[in-house]
Symmetry: C2
Subunit: 458 residues, 2 copies
């Protein structure tokens, strides 16, 4: 009988998050004001974020204490099990040893609450009464409602209208946790009303929802805004994944040759990967792969440039890999991987050659997801399927080469409320879509007049 789950005792849960900012070979370049193009300081973020999160956003401390109250909530599902994927290995006939960190065991079913709980806590101690956010398919919105409920904060989620009606299950999760989820564009903000006036039947977009959520936060002193990916403090909170995984692998005397995660805004990937990037900076040999959809190839095809985080160009310019703020992603089923940009930390580490980006096609990802579900049992989220597709490629390469590689990946969430996507795949309704070269040219033109980040020596 082989041990399948490496369980970290609760008392050994990491007490600090890992902050990679001071360890980066090339420091992160500052955000710029969307209007003036001048560097902005942390104080510019005060209207939308509470001070402790702003401090974390620019902190140069290598490790940051996790507050007791956050640990208390983490323990509802953390430490998450590290699984050895014996059944998948056998199915592939690979000599590789495959491990995955099961972040699907959290109540909302993904890694998102790692930062949602932390953000809700810091808002709570800063006197915030209400948090607003936007959500597309609903993973982030549900995690934020879950977290706000734990700390007695009101949550208001602007959900892209078309998803609000097409994907009711995530919305219902928000409501079970007492959250307030409204279809965007809404009548509650100037931004929403302006859109509705022009087009009463607007299906909404993430760009519009961001504008509504930010406006709702800025216009009320008791309300703050919250983001589920991209920013430094979000990635910081997610590092508990990689820190736990390092402890769990150490219990077995293992160290990974390959570390894999899917990347949309970059948070689940960075959460697992950054502690290993630290080792790599310190001389350890490890291949760290960020997997994105071929239809939204931010890192593999997009330039490293300053760009806005939102379509309406209201947010600061961030130095990142981008497909342009006007990018309209193909309607692939991994909703969490359809963002035009990438976390600045991940982007800079790609530039620095510490992270290897790879793109995979949609059909390969669903095939991989079904292979996983039929060997390991658990049904992965369509986003997670991207990581699994790369794991299978690496495991088959190890088989060809006859190498006993250790592969570690982040099983970022389950797919139980995404089964319609599997249905579309199994009934042959999905296809692959490779971003045409013209789209890259369009992105380049779109950002041509924006300031350029410096690319330092690699």
């Amino acid at each position: 009988m082989e041990a399948k789950k490496i369980l970290l005792p609760e008392r050994e849960i990491p007490r600090q998050w890992y902050n990679i900012l001071p360890d980066m070979p090339n420091p992160l370049q500052p955000p710029l004001h969307p209007g003036t193009g001048q560097p902005i300081g942390p104080e510019a973020l005060e209207p939308i974020f509470p001070m402790p999160l702003i401090e974390q956003e620019v902190s140069q401390k290598q490790f940051i204490e996790i507050p007791e109250e956050v640990l208390d909530k983490y323990l509802l599902w953390r430490p998450t099990p590290l699984y050895r994927a014996y059944h998948l290995e056998r199915h592939l006939g690979t000599p590789a040893r495959i491990y995955f960190k099961n972040e699907g065991v959290s109540p909302p079913g993904s890694h998102k609450p790692n930062t949602a709980v932390a953000q809700a806590y810091y808002n709570k101690i800063s006197g915030t009464k209400r948090i607003t956010t936007e959500t597309g398919a609903g993973q982030w919105g549900s995690a934020l409602c879950f977290a706000c409920n734990l700390f007695g904060i009101e949550a208001k989620v602007f959900m892209v209208k078309v998803s609000f009606y097409q994907k009711p299950y995530r919305r219902l999760m928000m409501e079970v946790w007492g959250g307030n989820c409204i279809p965007s564009p809404s009548n509650e903000t100037n931004a929403g009303r302006a859109i509705l006036e022009k087009d009463p039947d607007s299906p909404g977009s993430l760009g519009i929802a961001i504008s509504e959520a930010v406006e709702a936060a800025v216009s009320d002193p008791d309300t703050k805004y919250s983001l589920g990916s991209v920013l430094n403090h979000v990635l910081l909170h997610q590092t508990i994944i990689g820190l736990e995984a390092q402890k769990q692998l150490a219990m077995l005397g293992e160290y990974p040759h390959v570390v894999i995660g899917c990347a949309g805004g970059g948070s689940n990937f960075a959460g697992l990967a950054l502690p290993f990037v630290r080792d790599k900076i310190n001389g350890k040999e490890v291949d760290i792969i960020a997997v994105e959809p071929a239809s939204c190839p931010t890192m593999t095809k997009g330039p490293f440039a300053y760009d806005h985080g939102d379509t309406m160009r209201l947010t600061p310019l961030l130095p990142m890999h981008t497909l342009g703020h006007g990018f309209i992603p193909a309607p692939i089923h991994a909703g969490g991987l359809r963002y035009h940009g990438m976390a600045p930390i991940v982007s800079q580490l790609v530039v620095d050659g510490l992270i290897r980006p790879e793109a995979v096609h949609q059909l390969e990802t669903f095939k991989a997801g079904i292979t996983f579900a039929r060997s390991e049992g658990f049904i992965p989220a369509p986003e997670t399927d991207h990581a699994i597709a790369m794991v299978i490629r690496e495991a088959l390469k190890a088989k060809e080469e006859g190498k006993e590689k250790v592969i570690l990946f982040n099983w970022s969430g389950h797919g139980l409320v995404d089964l319609a996507a599997y249905d579309a795949y199994m009934s042959g309704k999905l296809s692959d879509y490779e971003l045409p070269e013209e789209e890259i040219q369009r992105a380049l033109a779109e950002i041509a007049n924006l300031p350029k980040p410096k690319i330092k020596g690699r």
Copy 2:
């Protein structure tokens, strides 16, 4: 920081199931032939079940080895965590210590795979190529497909037609695991064709689906049939829940004053409870509560009688609490608790005074489920909400009495694919329904001419 999860190391997973048959103060009375009313022996079950399961159905061995191959699959999600529900305790302000066994961590999200995996294994070693079953809302069907896939057996699930179209997520889970799920009544069996001939638009029923699944099994020597509850061998496989819980509580030096589970056919309840019933038989004081819906009050209002397991009266007569085989349950949202009968083992133990049945109303259960989700985070299945409603009653009683009671309950599954039920509750569309006395009279009349079980001294 309080430890919330009591994790049993994989190497300490129980190696045997507990069989209560030899320990029962009054032995189970035999099943009777549906036509002749005469006792039938195990050999009568050979056309539908493989021999190892038939042997377990009547075994007098107190402990039965769990095969290595079954343990290997169990480890995909077992041992399941035992949780201390601190946040719920605090919310209720109770001195009670509340523990729950989280069976929702299995890939299909409930306790059902504990027996599905065992049944698939015994079928595999008996040469079965295909297993048929019926499913209502889909919990059992999805668990069986998950298990069959692990052992390379074909699964064919007859799903009640109205659920097939209204609840696609469970069907999709079956298909992701390679199962074949078809709406019943179907054209594949005589039973199905007969119904369709009379009513081409028949919405189907569990009774019809059972007939189809049994017919499909009987008419092909390589095909067997499988049941997800009620029978002795099913309850046997579920006892791993209670055996694990006993080990986990022992790690803390705790023993429950109250053990609670919801009961439809009886399998998740018995899985947790039977090892504690054993202790009770041996003199331990423990209150063991089986919770059923007030709208389907099998144990609290139905007589203990011989009755058929199916509407069409094809299955053997079993000695059980029953509302009559013609009972049509109210359309409550806990689909798994709408069965007219109850496992003979559970029924006999109720008669013997070892198990205390209680009925709760639907609105109380959803209120309890939301209280749980807002304190402990995890969203429970509507069935599980019945257990939680009783836990809250007991915890509040302990508060009134100022007693430090230990309450243990089975968190039989999560509600992530049952969110439409919560939606109906939150939007005020649900109501309570108490079974009218006439229905009990109808049940009594229906079974009046059937043989009677002996009720031995209590």
